[in-house]
Subunit: 428 residues, 2 copies
């Protein structure tokens, strides 16, 4: 059996490695357009900052390691330009035809670049590719800190602010919308904005910049992502409502023996019950594994995501999972939400207050979503809510969770449980 994987980063390599474990005899080729594989794109901001000292620190495997340890051929600088599915070949830029019996499409996502003036400005630096991250790092290393603009208030934009502040730059954050992180949750936007202002970041909401004004030495646009689906779509692969590739829970596309995984594909949102496009490295690894297993003849399924994400912003940790109240309403739920602020430890160990919001469905009592903001250690408690969402728990069940307590770690009433108690009051 001959498996070809298009894309040599998270999803593609997870698929290839999983297929190899499932079928030691399979012939597996990974085609990677770029010169480097297996890099952690989520680390680009931290490499630019200098937290990761060299770009090689972002790289988990080399093609040689894949060839030697897994007998997987990884071809770099091999750009697939067409999938000729009736003939079962992938056409490369040089004209070569790479035959497959099973195909995994893991072409990822790219930054939106629909503002040509930004692209032409030498002060503008991206953070979406390894080359961009290296160029930004070189720029930050080349001069003392100056004045920077970050354009976009999503995850990458806020990470860029974090990195530039850590390097000592004066930062203006410009965001076209009214709220950060793509969540129309006013308190969360307020909390982030106030925190940014305390960290001496100038925040401008409702502003759309098409170019970078004078007075700025550097700008980082982070205007969102688009799935790389053109190759797939041209071959007849069905896209979903989100614009990403439509897949089953086995990561199958509409074409027989063709799978898709990672940032180019949709996933089921387990709370809304509908397909969503939430490009993330963790999901890419998981869906890649499932695609690889199924391509190799196993039967595995990916149950979907609950929409968990986390970001560090100048020492503040912000994490969300599930649906916000506004998203829940749009999905047909009847949401209530309670938000509390509570200490993360007994006062003699206290580092700070944690803000927790829970969203629940009034009709069923089911937990629908959560948001947590606090110091970076505090924010990871979002994972407890993520586990409860996966289990479709009610808030009533959630309030009884047996969470670990000892004074160095936690408060006797965890902020999650206090938030659950407050949410329950709204249900009755």
């Amino acid at each position: 059996m001959r498996l070809v994987v298009i894309g040599g980063v998270a999803a593609g390599l997870s698929a290839a490695a999983r297929a190899r474990r499932a079928d030691p005899g399979m012939h597996i080729t990974v085609l990677e357009r770029g010169g480097v594989i297996a890099y952690g794109a989520c680390g680009f901001p931290y490499f630019a900052q200098g937290q990761a000292r060299q770009w090689e620190d972002l790289v988990v495997y080399t093609p040689d390691q894949f060839a030697r340890d897994r007998k997987i051929a990884v071809r770099t600088n091999a750009e697939a330009v067409a999938i000729e599915h009736p003939r079962r070949v992938v056409r490369l830029a040089g004209g070569e035809a790479v035959p497959y019996e099973k195909l995994v499409i893991a072409t990822g996502a790219r930054a939106r670049r629909d503002l040509p003036e930004l692209a032409a400005d030498p002060r503008v630096f991206g953070l979406n590719t390894l080359d961009e991250a290296r160029r930004l790092r070189a720029r930050l290393d080349a001069s003392p800190p100056g004045r920077a603009a970050v354009i976009g208030g999503g995850y990458l934009g806020l990470e860029a602010v974090d990195v530039l502040r850590a390097r000592g730059w004066r930062v203006t954050l410009v965001h076209g919308g009214a709220s950060f992180l793509g969540r129309a949750t006013p308190w969360l936007t307020d909390l982030i904005r106030k925190h940014l202002e305390r960290c001496r970041v100038e925040v401008r909401l409702h502003e759309r910049w098409k170019s970078v004004p004078d007075g700025f030495d550097l700008a980082v646009p982070a205007l969102g992502l688009r799935p790389n689906v053109e190759l797939a779509a041209a071959a007849g692969v069905q896209l979903g409502r989100t614009g990403a590739i439509q897949v089953t829970d086995r990561m199958e596309t509409n074409l027989n023996s063709v799978y898709a995984a990672g940032d180019c594909a949709e996933t089921l949102h387990r709370v809304s019950g509908r397909p969503a496009w939430i490009p993330l490295g963790t999901t890419a690894n998981k869906t890649g594994r499932v695609a690889g297993a199924n391509a190799a003849g196993l039967r595995e399924r990916f149950p979907g995501v609950v929409g968990t994400s986390i970001v560090r912003i100048c020492g503040l940790g912000v994490a969300v999972t599930g649906l916000s109240e506004e998203m829940a309403r749009r999905e047909g739920f009847e949401p209530v939400s309670a938000r509390i602020e509570a200490p993360d430890r007994p006062k003699y160990f206290r580092r700070g207050l944690v803000t927790v919001e829970l969203v629940a469905d009034r009709r069923t009592g089911r937990l629908l979503g959560a948001a947590v903001a606090g110091d970076t250690g505090a924010a990871t408690r979002i994972n407890v809510a993520a586990a409860a969402l996966a289990a479709q728990s009610t808030v009533e069940e959630f309030q009884h969770l047996d969470l670990a307590y000892a004074p160095p770690f936690a408060a006797v009433w965890d902020p999650l449980l206090i938030a659950a108690q407050q949410t329950i009051k709204l249900l009755h």
Copy 2:
């Protein structure tokens, strides 16, 4: 309606406060044997250490606050010596009879003190009562650090080691059993022992000391707890197999209108499905709330615990939840377990490796338990397993959890998920 609560700490005050919210007209009296209420006993080690500067930092409420804010009469130095249930009165040490219609027994637990030679030795200091904690703190403040023995390798013993090391004492830990934390898990005992030895603690397992040898300046026995059930038992309250008070999921005892909550009562272990006695402040607060709600005429239930606990030992965080492999076998499961060691972050953010063990049932694939050891931030991920246990998740479901990932917080494959993948391999 007249409610009397015996015990003015976690469970008792939670019950009283919850009853008040449920019924503003109820007449509520709390009888506390000691002079101080609402103290966090879990903080005693950290007060002895000096992390909590004054003992008042451990106290959440005063009787005056309860009287003023909640109209609850809290009587300190009021020792209940008998429950005369046929007449519905609690008899106090001075002879006074306090009438009740509803009664909540929240008499807590006490340290085992079955070694008279230890009790008589002026070098011996307890950590189970506020007075003991104050006496130990005064001792630690009174002289430069010397040589100390801690007798007992449960939670309190390991916390005592932590505190004494933090104060600069040379410490010998003496434990009668073969394993720490009451869990016969050899790798966990090894890991803790090696860590203690790296922290220059002398560890002696399989040794039972009945007295403190010459050469030690101080000793802290921590030989386990016993539920305070004598008062209840004398009144005809049924005890369970564990020796603690048997209760329903509404915290009802066998006596009509008499509830029990906190460290004196059993709780359902949700994994084994059987009553257990796991005295903990968090459970005391939760069961107290449920007892108070039901005593006030509501109908609430406590679903039980999954056996989560956590301890800090000289910078190491160790946390467990659910059943160990050995406990699971004893409960009739067919357990498999996998243990992995994995980085908690990408290498450029790494603080250390986290060890995770998961236990699952071979027949059903159900997750049965987890143990996590790592730095103190890493150990709190036990809560994700606690949530999964409450939901009776399978390991298959667990491996797909949508956990938060960004490089400052986590590795792209969380150690929990890697452990789940390894556990699944053992199921097939």
